[in-house]
Symmetry: C2
Subunit: 210 residues, 2 copies
């Protein structure tokens, strides 16, 4: 397994050489793609940010996943089993590369370098995805809103190597990402501030103590 995988190089190879790629841009609020059974599309977010969204039967919106630059998504990473409608919504002006994974081994016209890279790097891509999914499960396994908030904030803090960081989406979205009621989440956040766990200005958080 190649542990020296470089996502930037990978994307560069892809965008410059592959004739089977397809790049589109989207503005805020637009649906980038819906997940369709049997199709095996895979997408790379070249720029911007987007959410993977599902609505449950009670009308609750769930932000299943959040994507930012260089994140990879699509049916390849989500075998759809039930009739749960899943779609990706751009949160801002975004640029997305599409690739049909079904025939991954069919070379494109100019026999591009990318296909060799893809074959050898695909394990790496999915193992990264597994890491993300396990972190998501760890987050959702937390039993209280307080624990969910603190876990998520610690995650962001670790990722940024900084006690201060910006929540990558609105607080309304955050509630749908943590799968809790927004007003209850706001109340809990207020308590966390009052009890000295964190400081908050807008959607910038600074973790204090512990």
């Amino acid at each position: 397994m190649n542990f020296n995988f470089n996502i930037n190089q990978f994307i560069a190879d892809f965008t410059t050489n592959c004739s089977r790629k397809n790049i589109k841009t989207f503005s805020k609020g637009e649906v980038v793609t819906s997940y369709i059974q049997k199709r095996q599309q895979f997408c790379i977010l070249l720029d911007g940010s987007a959410n993977l969204i599902r609505y449950d039967l009670n009308g609750n919106r769930i932000i299943v996943d959040h994507f930012s630059k260089n994140d990879i998504f699509g049916e390849v990473f989500y075998n759809i089993t039930t009739n749960n409608e899943l779609f990706v919504e751009a949160k801002q002006k975004s640029s997305v590369l599409f690739f049909n994974y079904n025939n991954i081994y069919s070379k494109c016209k100019n026999n591009c370098k990318f296909h060799a890279t893809l074959a050898s790097s695909f394990d790496e891509l999915i193992l990264d995805k597994i890491t993300d999914l396990n972190m998501r499960i760890e987050l959702l396994s937390k039993r209280s809103i307080r624990e969910k908030l603190l876990s998520y904030f610690n995650l962001l803090s670790t990722k940024k190597l900084n006690k201060s960081f910006t929540i990558p989406f609105s607080l309304t979205d955050l509630a749908d990402y943590l799968c809790v009621d927004r007003s209850a989440m706001m109340r809990e956040m207020k308590l966390l501030k009052e009890e000295g766990f964190l400081k908050k200005t807008g959607n910038r958080i600074t973790l204090l103590q512990q």
Copy 2:
């Protein structure tokens, strides 16, 4: 990608030919393995059943995953980031095959057929794992105990192609798997019975209506 992957054939090849494998048996309650950072072990449950367990800081036990015959687990499928101790516990007499994935490409003495199979089938294995993880996320994203129970039961029902099925572990375990309080879960289950959603004898459930 090979969509004709056969897990039974795969395991048969592995157990009969590979000299790098290592098979051990465990009795109920024994720890099969703990997940260790940097190691890249991967294990196949040949027989029995086991749970992947974590304890959170409040002492709550979380059943992160449940494994039965032919399920695959190990650090390969769980990049450990934090200091969360994860271990696999046998729920009954179980037989487990261990393989060190670090040097997947180093052939074993008799250059066994398995390694060719593994290289070509690994994508399949991890994509299956991703499906499982996404289902787990969908389950945990449910906001009430009632919804979690019904979703989980529907899942089992779909898997068995039958409205009747057996919960693969104790109700105490089920609560830890759904990440809710056991007594609250029992109460909700009682209500579901009373409201005619299901019948229950021991840990055998029959779904009624809808």
